[in-house]
Amino acid sequence: MTLRFRNLAAVGSTAHGSQIDEFLTTEIDGEKWTCIRPTRRLSRLEFDVKSKGFCQVPVVLFNSSPAACHLDDENRVWYSNLPEPHEIATSFLLADDWLSDRLAERRFVFDAIKTQVDAIHATLEADYVKTEAVVEHLRAWKELCTEAFPYMFLVLTIDDLVLHLAQRWIDRQCSPGQRTELLAQVCRSVYVRNAIANNAIPRLSKSLQFPPSQLFRSIGYIDRSIFLRSEALANVIARCEVWHKAQTILHVTERASLAFQLSEENFHVMGSLTTACENLLYRFSLSVAPEAPTEFANRYRDLTLEECVADIQSRSTRRKT
């Protein structure tokens, strides 16, 4: 199957609504560094929790050498040696075996995250939260972020490209209005439906916040047959006079639907983990500084995970003695 990517870089804005020119690039000693979505700022703690995962992206996705990343003075994350979006998009669209393997690995990691979120909820539901449990959950947070980030990155930079490609193929067969109807039918997610039903919507900001948001569980799965239930797609396919064209439209629509669902899964599942860990830190802060837990918890934003753990352990020991 031949799919062309040229001109994709000329898309004025992403389907998320953020401008592509928000991607910053610079060169240091001949090495290209990129800042993806520079408006997103990470605290020192979040960077420490996620940075190993950032570096693992090329290793996990393409078995190549690790990326490098650093946090600048304005708390923006810069990367070098990350796979190019077009490289990932090409694999996502055309390398079926590669994609199946990555999705199977991703499923394993995301299921582990859901289990971990349940474990944190169970800890928080208890009357007394043991320090050992807090420490264990915080370390698991970092491990899971390290494992999950490469699979999050799988769609982070390409969902808009894939959607745009699908739009271009669909546009050849129908009007813009019919195209919106079609994409509105295939860009659906079980996570979103369940989140609305359970009033469990993650907040938009991925940064740590204290006091924390309300705990929630993300309930859902990737439904790869959603696109097949689209009447609008069936009508478009029926109008195709050439089988090759119908086959391509089906293929890119399926991948656009998949990319959309993976992106929503990122948002809902990772949001539930971040919120759970925020609640964990806040609960501990409440126990040691009940008069000002928010200020106390905010201190942790400027520490690394192991510095947080050391602080929690030392305060817990002092409390016991």
Binding site: S18, C187, I196, N199, R203
Partner: protein, 109 residues
């Protein structure tokens, strides 16, 4: 004016502009059942849920796959996002007609 159609459906009604930076009581949002709600600024998924009784949604920002647009689709609320500077043509209380399929918005002056 034209934005990005994010959820199909045609609706006509008065516009109510929500400023992202201003907190709006839940009761007030719930009482806007016959309005087209226009979000100026952060267009969060939570806000869409709060405004679920409205007849349609407009937004200055966002794109087809933004989380808030995906919630509008799930709730089957016609939605046009990404109006950008054209959003400034909207006036509180004025009637508008939106087409969530084509992204077209007509404002009656």
């Amino acid at each position: 004016m034209k934005g990005i159609g994010a959820c199909p459906g045609k609706r006509n009604g008065p516009v109510y502009i929500f400023e992202a930076s201003v907190a709006v009581p839940d009761k007030k949002i719930g009482a806007l059942a016959d309005y087209i709600i226009a979000f100026n600024g952060a267009f969060t998924p939570r806000r869409v849920i709060d405004a679920r009784s409205c007849i349609a949604i407009l937004a200055r920002g966002g794109g087809f796959t933004c989380h808030a647009a995906s919630i509008a689709r799930e709730l089957n609320i016609p939605c046009v996002v990404g109006l950008g500077r054209m959003f400034d043509n909207l006036v509180d209380g004025n009637m508008a007609t939106i087409d969530g399929s084509t992204g077209l918005v007509e404002v009656e002056k």
